[in-house]
Symmetry: C2
Subunit: 101 residues, 2 copies
């Protein structure tokens, strides 16, 4: 399982619209066969900061995700809401094993 944590900060006036757009993208993404989880969290210390936790079942799955209509729609709406360039950190899962994702 390949994991990416994406750190996002949005403009304060965009928080609610960003949440709506990202909820739609998360629920559609979770239906992709290559995606095991697509968690969307809001930081407690700063409501303009969010983290996406994306868990991919294969090395091909991240590229497949970026080909989807829901990803394109999210990018079009969400990109102008960002207060800074978002950043992702890739990891491999040590626990749980793949069946636990």
């Amino acid at each position: 399982m390949l994991i990416v944590h994406v750190q996002i900060r949005v403009k304060p006036e965009c928080v609610e619209a960003f949440k709506a757009a990202t909820l739609a993208n998360a629920s559609a993404s979770l239906k992709e066969p290559g995606i095991a989880r697509f968690d969307f969290c809001q930081r407690s210390d700063d409501p303009t900061r969010f983290v996406l936790v994306e868990a991919y079942r294969t090395e091909e799955a991240p590229a497949a995700h970026k080909q989807t209509a829901h990803y394109a729609a999210w990018r079009k709406v969400a990109d102008p809401m960002m207060a800074e360039t978002r950043s992702g950190v890739w990891m491999k899962s040590l626990y749980p094993e793949d069946a636990g994702w």
Copy 2:
């Protein structure tokens, strides 16, 4: 669902021992009634860096976790392996809803 992401960097010579100790803690922690997930990931860009993703079902669950024997055992073994003070960021889950954790 309350989520914490804990960023950890260990001394290079401690990587394998840290993995073993943390795998034991993760599997024991996941059996706690207040814990929904306890993911343990290793960064792809730096094998001395790890992230714990802990998902708690209640506000009381984090304190209950710190009372367990497996947490105490992990702290005793893992603390000397850290290359810097570990840091945690608390979040609330927006997606999935609690049943999806």
